[in-house]
Amino acid sequence: MSAVPPRRQPRLEMAGIAKRFGATVALDAVDLRVGRGEVLALVGENGAGKSTLMKVLSGAVRPDGGRIAIDGAPFQPADPLAAREAGVAMIYQESNVVPDLTVEANLILGVERHRLGFITRAAHRSRIRAVLARLGRPELPLDARAAALSPGDRQLLEIARALLTDARVLVMDEPTSSLGLAEIARLFEIIEGLRREGVAVVYISHFLEEVQRVTDRYVVLRDGRVVGEGPTADTTVADLVELMIGRRLPEMFPVTQRTPGAPVLSLDGVGVGGRVNRVDLTLRRGEILGFAGLVGAGRTELLRAVYGLDPIVSGRVTVAGYSGRKRLPADRLAQGIGLLSENRQAEGLALGLSVGHNMLLSHLTPFARWGWLRTGQMRRAVERWMAELGIRAAGADQAIRELSGGNQQKVAFARLLHHDVDVLLLDEPTRGIDVASKAQIYDWIGRLAGRGKAIVLVSDHVPELLGVCDRIAVMHRGRLGPSRPAADWTEHDILTAATSGEAAA
Amino acid sequence: GDADRDPAEAAPLRIAVVPKGTTHDFWKAVHAGAIRAEQELDDVQVIYRGPEREDNRDQQISLVQNLISSGVDAIVLAPLDQHALVPSVRLAAQAGIPVVVFDSRLAAEVGTDYVSYVATDNLEGGRIAGRRMGELLHGRGRVLLLRHAEGSESTMRREEGFVEALSAFADIELIDPKRYSGVTTATAQIASESLLTAYDDVDGIFCANETSTFGMLLALRGRDLAGRIRFIGFDANAGLVEALELGEIDGLVVQDPMGMGYLGVKTAVAHLRAQDVELRQDTGVTLATRDNMHEPDIASLLAPDLDRYLNQ
């Protein structure tokens, strides 16, 4: 793509931005310049400081030092509203939708036009319609409660919100983490349009292929410092990764030796709350089964129901060696089935509790004697897992809230490892995780399968499925297609199957 | 005149008795008195209903209004406040439901707004206590007053009377820290205990109602001061009578709650049956002491035979 050379005066300039949280240095004198119509990739490991840097820009975090200028004018946002009024729009990494408000109210939240304090809807409707059309979702119901939307649609909603405020600077912090490919493609078109309009776009993502596709320049952060920048065109994914983690990454998808064993989990005719119907499936020891599908296909529901979080309306789930009808999460765990939630924030982790709590919570029995816990052992266990997975945290007692997204996800994954379940249901295990960590998790998944564990991997990221799984099944509108060896699938087949439903025979 | 409501003369007269509270022996006795009247007079039915707490005026108003709407033939009311209940009583008058007021004043026209006022003179009750205290202390010493509750009219008049009578004794110093015991025994107990730490050298104490008297008694016992400090209380219950017997209390000013309930209902019925009634009827206050407590008439005031009327 034709990189527009930045003009004399950059649209956005950040210089010497510094921020500490307690003793954690999140940002250490970071400089950043983005020109008009330039799309800048901001990449780095989990915890590198990307989000914090952008929160400083959007007025959500007050920096300890440094200065910001927009179009040369000094800019010190007192709060997010000030930033928004100055033309800085931000799509945050964490979901920022108000569930109890309608879609429309969410879109105009904070910038409502009104007469005598009463909102003048007409003033907004047309622009909203335009933006939604631009996003390819004109039919999105404006009067529906946002709570009723799928995560995918929620993310679209946040993008739309950002587009509505005609911004000079637009920041996207991992905007594609729960978008389907169609939406992603459309998003890139939109970014193109913005570039033409001269908007300065900062694009944060752990999908380096995306970065290669949409961005003009890149800036790499590591431990709150800029460790490299340049035109995206003259770099490769491998180079970026090296800059990010400071070393060459070995094999992304390590090949491990494993042989499918006896069936551990089988579903026949399973249906879940209207959205998922007649799912048949057999999962064997030592195999990795991938679920592909568009956002909203119902994979999450399926996993949740199998795990006992949602009721199964029809069909039956059989776990090898268990005949009883017990199917609560507690029972499933006892039967050796574990689930990694797709929603870290609301469900996967108790953000208020410490790393240690979150890691061991599901399995305190080994530390308990007569219902009393031996905390020394607990601490040692936590520290061992932190080392194993390279979790960057101040210690076992640090509140999980203070960890970066990727490290939070690793804690959630460590919980399953600690619990040592036989069947791992992984819903988007690598969502929002940096490449190095991804590689680590893939490695773990491979090793676990090698040890005879059975794994279900739900992912929107097709290359990941192709790289990691032995077999892949595609889910379409709540129906799970037949599973076939990964080798028999191409990325194209999977996409057609996901969109059309025909498992291209 | 409720002929329109129940044409059949046979239907019993429904008399609503509304006390200030439902959870003290005092009001139990009123209830018993009302039942006694119910038994003596033929085809009369008593409905006994009160507010939850002894300081919930608004609830008593709602209660009276609801009773009016339920079409009782007469209401016998112990108003929680002399002013607050006036509109409701007038409302009853409009609805043709006669009201007999008992125990506490109502700031309205007796004879026009309501039929009759059956009560004890609270002021006099206080005076009796004050005079007795004076005698007990032989006219010299320090006397502590624990007040009952903010805005409770009858007890305030008793306290008033007590202070007035006590002022006749030049050498008696009244200590009135304006502390209120609150409406339950537990709050009274805590208030008393704290108060006693500050004023444990007083010679006499007065409390103006059942709960505060009992709470103070418990506090005195806790400090082994019971019987050492001259203590006069108001109203009676089993515990208080026992304390009187033991000499832990030197005097209880007792009214005749049973008499009030009895007379209240009787008066209401008499009025409904078109007999003329006294505008003001005093059921009297007496001082019960260790010496006179066994005289039959006093004994019946101290421990009225409630079960005979209530448990059946």
Partner: protein
């Protein structure tokens, strides 16, 4: 999305629910021998008895929707009633009394709001503190005894039998109704209303979307304070006196009304009409148990369970809906 279609229905049901509960209650009580008739006068009384709780509960609904709660409302009502009484006692007119009442109420709300925002206190705590404070002030300025004052016709606003009779119910009740409608519109169509909802539903997001959270919260509490002021004035009119000990524990009735009406104490949900229905429901229960001549404890036991049943039914319906 299925959600889009389903949701309006759910909302609609939620709105009607309390009214239905009310209807059910009416039938149930009529079923009890001796089948006491529900006279027009009964209805008038119930309306008046629901009036004070209802008026205050309108404000409480907004507070609860915004994720807050106000335990001090009972004490504030007492304080307002005393303040108004003192004004009228000094020969002030109704107008002045109204101003003072609303002013006092608003001040109470403002103080709550400032404690919550400036000191970052949880509303439960801040208002638990002011619950004692306002009560103390009320006793202080009243000298701890009820302040009797000429009502200057204010009592007509709350007397069960309205004058003129064609009003059917007391003017105060009409006023409550009008305010109810006003606040429904406010919540649905005004910026403040939407922001209240947003804060109650997800405060972090509200902040990131540029809502001035603190300012909004304070305004909400002041608004609620105005309604408390009105309720306090009604209380005075009913008692014909400013009573520093009135409305002890009333906050629980008021909150109960909101919750029976479908409000959620975790914020983001609540319905003004539901709240009013809830207030009427409780007044109706008290009226019936008196008419039926039940002893007090029966009433307490039943009213307690009505709250439970009403909300349980609501939850159950909501549960089925999603």
């Amino acid at each position: 999305m299925s959600g889009a279609v389903r949701d309006p229905w759910g909302a609609w049901l939620r709105t009607l629910a309390p009214a239905m509960t009310l209807a059910v209650a009416v039938l149930v009580f009529y079923a009890i021998p001796p089948h006491p008739p529900l006279t027009a006068f009964d209805l008038r009384l119930v309306a008046v008895h629901a009036m004070i709780v209802g008026t205050a509960a309108i404000g409480m609904t907004v507070v609860i929707i915004s994720g807050g709660i106000d335990l001090s409302v009972g004490s504030a009502i007492a304080l307002v009633s005393v303040a108004a009484a003192l004004v009228l006692e000094d020969g002030g007119g109704v107008g002045l009394a109204l101003v003072v009442a609303l002013g006092t109420g608003a001040l109470c709300g403002l103080y709550n709001g400032l404690l919550i925002t400036a000191l970052r206190l949880p509303p439960f705590i801040a208002t638990l503190g002011t619950l004692g404070f306002y009560r103390g002030v009320a006793k202080w300025i009243s000298g701890s005894i009820p302040v009797t004052a000429p009502t200057q016709g204010l009592d007509a606003w709350v007397s069960p039998i309205p004058d003129p009779p064609w009003l059917l119910v007391a003017p105060g009740v009409w006023l409550m109704g009008a305010l109810g409608i006003g606040f429904v519109l406010m919540l649905r169509y005004s910026v403040l209303g939407q922001h209240a909802l947003a804060i109650g539903s997800n405060e972090a997001t509200a902040r990131l979307c540029g809502i001035r959270v603190a300012r909004t919260k304070v305004s909400i509490f002041v608004l609620a304070g105005l309604l408390t002021g009105l309720a306090g004035l009604m209380q005075f009119a009913r008692l014909t006196q400013g009573d520093p000990t009135v409305a002890i524990g009333l906050e629980l009735d008021i909150i109960a009304a909101v919750v029976i009406g479908g409000g959620s104490l975790s914020g983001g949900q609540g319905s003004i009409f539901g709240t009013l229905a809830g207030a009427v429901l409780m007044a109706y229960l008290r009226n019936r148990s008196t008419v039926l001549g039940w002893p007090n404890f029966v009433e307490e036991m039943i009213v307690g369970h009505i709250i439970i049943v009403a909300v349980a039914v609501d939850r159950w319906r909501a549960g089925r809906a999603t």
